[in-house]
Subunit: 295 residues, 2 copies
């Protein structure tokens, strides 16, 4: 039952984000093809789904949410495109497909990433026009998303991750990387949903903390799958962390302890969210499913 609803919701999100993609025409056609390829090549659409479901948790019902679904996914896509570049992770495959710079060339990989990031902000800065009465909420959501995407969020995590290659890290540094490289954008998604639905500051703090735990659990699960996962299901090679000489949560804590932490973090996040007193069964089920995922 969950799986059927999940697929329906995922397809609906993909319809929305596809509508927000730029048309492949005009002088800059090549970069637009590269942008759209990067977004449409696949993905679980977890961030827009968490955004929409958190919005619903707080009773949000407006179409104002749609540009946010697209923008949060495009920010995620840009980060993957630049991560895959030769100077960074140097990956040729993602989700079983050629990475953007392999398919469109190195220069276009850089520019498509830039273009996706900028386009996200074009979408965010126009969003309020759908419902000018929400201009304040949109302004707050845009500010929150932009902070979590930058040096005090996702990019910060990415920088420390890149600098960590070949070094031995302590658990604090690993947690910094996970909390920023992964949790920050989960926080952006869930808190933007809460802000747009009019959540109070206290509620927002709860969502932020829960999203942090979800992101951490999500990333630890990623590290586990990099060791014990199925390459076909993952759509990428396993053991990439070992190959890239990366210390991960799992190399420090071991698989069993890491699995327990994923479980504990997820339960704690769920407890926090449920204590708010609102209900969205699909959201709660989605969060539980994230830790049992195999890709």
């Amino acid at each position: 039952m969950f799986d059927k609803i999940f697929i329906e919701k995922k397809e609906d999100i993909e319809r929305v984000i596809t509508r927000y993609l730029p048309k492949e025409e005009g002088y800059p056609k090549t970069v637009i093809e590269a942008m759209n390829y990067s977004v449409l090549v696949g993905g679980k659409r977890i961030r827009p789904m968490l955004l929409r479901e958190t919005y619903a948790l707080f009773g949000g019902e407006s179409l104002i949410i749609e540009p946010y679904l697209a923008a949060i996914e495009f920010i995620h896509s840009y980060s993957l495109v630049h991560d895959d570049l030769p100077a960074l992770d140097n990956d040729e495959l993602r989700r079983g497909n050629l990475t953007t710079h392999i398919k469109f060339g190195h220069a276009m990989g850089i520019l498509a990433g830039d273009a996706l990031l900028n386009y996200s902000y074009e979408i965010l800065s126009s969003a309020y026009e759908l419902s000018p009465m929400y201009i304040d909420r949109c302004a707050k959501a845009n500010k929150y998303i932009s902070k979590k995407a930058g040096i005090y969020g996702m990019i910060g995590g990415q920088v420390v991750d890149i600098e960590a290659v070949g070094k031995t890290l302590d658990i604090e540094s690993i947690e910094y990387i996970h909390m920023n490289k992964t949790s920050a954008l989960i926080q952006a998604a869930m808190c933007a949903g809460a802000i747009l639905a009019g959540a109070t500051v206290e509620e927002l703090n709860v969502v932020e903390e829960a999203a942090n735990k979800i992101g951490l659990a999500f990333q630890i699960q990623d590290d586990i799958l990099d060791i014990v996962g199925d390459e076909d299901k993952l759509g990428k090679a396993i053991n990439s962390d070992a190959k890239n000489q990366k210390t991960t949560y799992v190399t420090i804590k071991g698989i069993e302890e890491s699995r327990k932490d994923v479980e504990t973090l997820t339960q704690s996040a769920l407890d926090n969210l449920k204590a708010l007193g609102y209900t969205n069964d699909f959201l709660f089920a989605l969060i539980e499913k994230l830790i049992n995922r195999i890709n």
Copy 2:
């Protein structure tokens, strides 16, 4: 006299944008050093200066302008950092200094550019908090800037410029590149100033057209200086367009015709702006000076 005021105004802009730079501390310290280096390494600060002076032309007097000075310069800086990368223009020097990726490494060059772009939007999306009464104007200015920085503006021009290497271009393609790679951000600067000062839609259209001409004249002058300029004053090698097999405005129209076009475009832009009926002698002098510049 003009030069003295110009230097004072430039120094004041540099004080403002320096205040908006992130502190070089914490886990992501390296990327912040690379961001700040990229901004502080120099530049004429033309875009923030045009922004502030256009704001003044329309009677703007609020401090709301300050985050915009920083954001527009940071967007410009990010575009230079990514332009200089090996996969794009592959430049090792800019303004007589090492380019960011040469000084901080290739990965950090990519990430510092990403970080500067994102940080610009962090600044833009917080700007309204300085004066919440201007939330509508800020929203409009942010939307305008984001559009002009993206695929329908600066990135669009950059993409076509990169694809043009080694090809023979017609004058329409050259003008598309200039209008987008250069004029778009000049438009973003001047129109953001006008929007923030409360200019009407008709006035905004005039500023947009004038800024387009100023950007075109500015870029043609750049192409001229790439042939006849003084390397020491420019802080970079000349003849880079020939080296990169780039067709430029000058290779099609010749130096004399190009010089005339710079003059005509500039006069036309000035006439448009003066016809609005407002006065800012420094702005008008600045626009005239741009065509006589030697760096």
